[in-house]
């Protein structure tokens, strides 16, 4: 995948593996997601792990409810999604505030640092405000080398505090695609 030069030089850091280690340390058993390219490596690691059930959702709001069910059953989970998917979760996030269960969400950002596609910008710019309006604590990771500790902090906050916490993985970390590099040359 072609990425712009805006991507953090620190993406040489293997931050997906850092996230995976945090999920394992916390004995996360259910990882649900609507896929995003930014989560590709982490998802592969989760799928290859015999103790993690990876569930592909049709829409992100399912994940908010699925993780309440998992928690009722004694399992920890994590929801992976792209920032545009946050918009699909809004009413379902009522569960987090009303039921006060640990809800850990890892959001790969679009529509902010170096975005190419204007259609991604509205939801990307509203992601933090949307989640905060629904009572979610939002942390950002702007540097690859800080991703692991930020996700660790979010997991502690969520699982110890029984609250909803999201980590936004910015395009500075994950890189911003320039579609022109993938397109047919213009005639």
């Amino acid at each position: 995948m072609t990425e712009s030069s805006l991507a953090d030089p620190a993406t040489a850091v293997d931050w997906p593996s850092d996230i995976f280690r945090v999920l394992k340390d916390w004995d996360v058993r259910q990882v649900c997601h609507v896929p995003d390219a930014g989560h590709l490596k982490l998802l592969t690691q989760c799928e290859d792990d015999n103790d993690i059930r990876t569930v592909t959702l049709t829409t992100e709001e399912e994940g908010v409810a699925l993780l309440l069910g998992a928690w009722l059953g004694g399992e920890r989970g994590c929801l992976l999604m792209q920032s545009s998917g946050v918009g699909n979760t809004i009413n379902m996030l009522s569960l987090a505030k009303t039921c006060r269960y640990p809800l850990l969400m890892l959001v790969t950002m679009r529509g902010e640092y170096g975005e190419f596609n204007p259609w991604q910008v509205p939801m990307g710019q509203a992601t933090r405000a949307t989640m905060e309006a629904m009572g979610v604590i939002v942390l950002d990771a702007w540097e690859g080398e800080r991703v692991g500790e930020t996700v660790e902090a979010a997991a502690k906050l969520a699982f110890n505090g029984q609250v909803a916490v999201a980590v936004c993985l910015t395009q500075r970390v994950i890189g911003a695609k320039d579609f022109r590099a993938l397109a047919e040359p213009k005639a």
């Binding site: 259910q30 049709t58 829409t59 399912e62 409810a65 009722l72 009413n91 269960y101």
Partner: protein, 199 residues
């Protein structure tokens, strides 16, 4: 429009489904009528009744079923709630939890908001959709004789199963369970996991 042509009574159907439930049956209800019906049959810490979060009952049931494969998980919900989570039928069909059963109390109306017609009133076939999504068994009960198969798919058969029961429209009193979500969560976890459930 005080009749939808069906005669089965929802409270009796649900009471039958939940009879002799024991500790091995975990129940999630959708919001509205399904909640009141399950509560009328007997409030239980192992029932999680939703008061909101429309469309949430199915995915909640899936997460619970995956976490507790040795228990039977029953999602009781209405046609309106199920129609809001049709995509989750595919999610469940892919995961195929053998311990998950869904029962749809289908009066073909949005019962809480003035009995507006739902898509099932126009013939949308939830069983066909569920089968297409990978559910291993479905049934639709319209009369008393269909309830035995409904009970079997809800309580015993390998899942995921989806059963539709066509019910009459009735003016019923609301029977309310506790409505604090954190309390409902904690009491469920304690009943299922023991005192450690609050941690």
């Amino acid at each position: 429009m005080n009749s939808n042509g069906y005669s089965l009574k929802r409270r009796a159907v649900v009471a039958g489904l939940l009879a002799d439930r024991g500790d091995d049956l975990l129940v999630v209800t959708g919001l509205g009528g399904a909640n009141w019906d399950a509560t009328a049959a007997g409030d239980s810490p192992l029932t999680f009744p939703l008061w909101g979060a429309m469309g949430g009952a199915l995915p909640m049931g899936l997460g619970l079923a995956l976490a507790q494969p040795a228990k039977r998980v029953l999602v009781l919900t209405g046609d309106g709630d199920l129609l809001m989570s049709l995509g989750c039928l595919a999610t469940i069909g892919v995961e195929r939890p053998a311990n998950l059963a869904v029962v749809v109390l289908d009066n073909e109306r949005y019962g809480e908001t003035g009995r507006q017609r739902t898509a099932t009133a126009a013939g949308v076939d939830l069983c066909a959709i569920a089968r297409g999504a990978g559910f291993v068994a479905t049934t639709e009960a319209r009369v008393e004789s269909g309830l035995a198969e409904l009970h079997r798919l809800a309580r015993a058969a390998d899942g995921p199963t989806l059963s539709v029961v066509k019910i009459s429209m009735e003016p019923l009193k609301i029977v309310m369970p506790p409505r604090d979500g954190a309390y409902l969560k904690d009491r469920f976890r304690i009943a299922l996991l023991g005192e450690d459930g609050i941690f």
